[in-house]
Symmetry: C2
Subunit: 421 residues, 2 copies
Amino acid sequence: MTMLPDLTKTTLALLDATDPLASKRDAFFLPDNTLYLDGNSLGAMPRVAALRAHQVLNEQWSRDLIKSWNSHQWIDLPHKVGEKIAPLLGAAPGQVICCDSTSVNLFKILSCAMLMQPGRTKILSQAGNFPTDLYMVQGLASLLGEQYCQLVLVDDSPDNHALEQAITTEIAVLLLTQVDFRSGRLLDIQRLTQRAHEQGVLVIWDLAHSAGALPIELDACHVDFAVGCGYKYLNGGPGAPAFLYAATRHHDRLTQPLTGWMGHNAPFSFATDYQKAPGIAQFLTGTPAIIAMSVLDAALTVFDNIDMQQVRYKSLALSHCFHHLVTMQPCLADLQLITPLQPSARGSQLAYQHPHAYALCQALIQRGVIADFRAPNILRLGFTPLYLRYVDIGTAVTILANIVSSQEYLKPEYAVQQKVT
Amino acid sequence: MTMLPDLTKTTLALLDATDPLASKRDAFFLPDNTLYLDGNSLGAMPRVAALRAHQVLNEQWSRDLIKSWNSHQWIDLPHKVGEKIAPLLGAAPGQVICCDSTSVNLFKILSCAMLMQPGRTKILSQAGNFPTDLYMVQGLASLLGEQYCQLVLVDDSPDNHALEQAITTEIAVLLLTQVDFRSGRLLDIQRLTQRAHEQGVLVIWDLAHSAGALPIELDACHVDFAVGCGYKYLNGGPGAPAFLYAATRHHDRLTQPLTGWMGHNAPFSFATDYQKAPGIAQFLTGTPAIIAMSVLDAALTVFDNIDMQQVRYKSLALSHCFHHLVTMQPCLADLQLITPLQPSARGSQLAYQHPHAYALCQALIQRGVIADFRAPNILRLGFTPLYLRYVDIGTAVTILANIVSSQEYLKPEYAVQQKVT
């Protein structure tokens, strides 16, 4: 990416004027006087999502009641939503389904993968991986016993190649998150998957912080399994259902343990014995969350006719502008970027360490710039190309610089950590 | 219950006029020209549910975005909804939480219970239990291995006491559904739990077909664990989040395997090691489904100031009237009731076997009487005291008699089984 010579307001406005994604902003409801840099935590609301919720309650559930399972195709939603997400993941049809939470889906996949690797007991991940991923491994290990399942963690960094060295024939499963939730570092799916396969290791990618933010090529990279989140860059609403990817080549030999009735080959035969459904449907468990899944289904239409390369370009450009403007402000010298700067190594967020990161974040929020704090000292800023403008970036950095230079963030009300998410 | 001497329209209207729950009907949206006898499958929509969905999308998510986790107490919803459900189950505070699906919650509880019973490997249930319950046991067994976990099924009936005889010291866990989804038979929680405890067996009750339909006394019956559904008699909407009950006395020694970040003692410390939250919060897994859970939260307000004994009385009276009217119609003699008639042995539904049950159900639906078919030959009718009137019962039976006497149900369009739920 070329360094922009002069990021004046005029330049930023010009970037907006030539932005091929600019019109997508209208698809979202965005509150007044708010610059939202936290779409990596909870995506903003597509207007169509509210319309769809209204329909599902006031036209479907209320009027057509139980008949809606057929007449409004509720029963098809897990597949329909899965197939809408699939192109964002580089997945051919029949491999993605929408259901449950990321954590629950990860448990299904982890269990499957371990059963496919008799004689291997180790699940390898990064020490800094999102905790729920590590906790789900620990939960599986508590159930199976440590002799059958152990979590192995490495402190990987862009410099030490610790991860690659740890991928050996001793490992059963490699569980990684493509974009690190703290640092925003982006891992190379293609390279790490290939390395894993060379050692007979199955891979599970958590795409929570990347799906909808950048192009992903699961099929082309021969990924085995993936999970991800519906409420971040996919804008499906708070606690939206999650998704799960399993490569077709594995479908016939999978045994996932959360064998609820919706994953049965013939759920409405009410047979006593479980017989798994063919294909990706085997990953369904309980009755699908229709209201929530409908909202996600509608939200995904904002990705219609979108080129993910354009999304990626704008994401990198927005964050590049942000950091460039930060470096131009002497008062922001204490903000230490922990996100790798090169485009191939970062996702769609920037993370800065600062001794007063919590207070800074609170002061920003008070001024309408919604950023995020991650313990112990990280100010996290997410860049969502579908609804952020270049001029917003300029305004956000100006406000940040103002808060720092005025020492506004030292106000006592910003000192206590009360934020829970 | 006294047999009503003469169930004329006038008598039924009089019963409505003196019904203490009559005013609750206004709390629901009910479509015109529809008699809804399927609230045991999907509850009707409380009007307040639609209002709440509108609020959560158009005032909370859209406007306050990520801040809503605190400002709208999203983070408290699993507990708040759990505590609203608790009184309907006879559960003191701190023992019920709302999360995930019934199936997923059952897996958590089954795993916990098995770990509490070293040396015992058998999970006892009824052959006719709702399939997802049996499938989840089979899923756990597939993961643990048959030597550690086996499902044992008995063909219990009100006459043979097979269940009680099968509860021995060989059994680890007794898994039963209080009201049978097909027959509507009601099991005696108190007696079976006591019998189980005498043999050192832990009990799990599935309350899917009873919670919100009849008074339940989990604490008084010393039940160990329970799960249940949010979208039947609790009217939480299609695929609403489910609930889970765990008696306080067990909390400290439980290890449930779906250890997601929300069940961590300090989720926002983002620690590498899982440390379970105290109390019922240890059963949380992923990020709560806020939109769906908010709808359920609102729907539960229809139970405010309701006496569950009155609900039970009306439920029995509605079904009693229905069956009495059926027996008065000679043309309905082929409908064979498989639900026990005595009040202590039935829930809030009636089930009739009929060789043309599917066609009858379709013809009823065509005429606006929404009933339910369960393979192979069961016509199922649910009685929801909060929004059904006595006069509705009269109308429904009249329509049913008309369909049978006219042989309308033999029309070709009712012959093919297309209904999926």
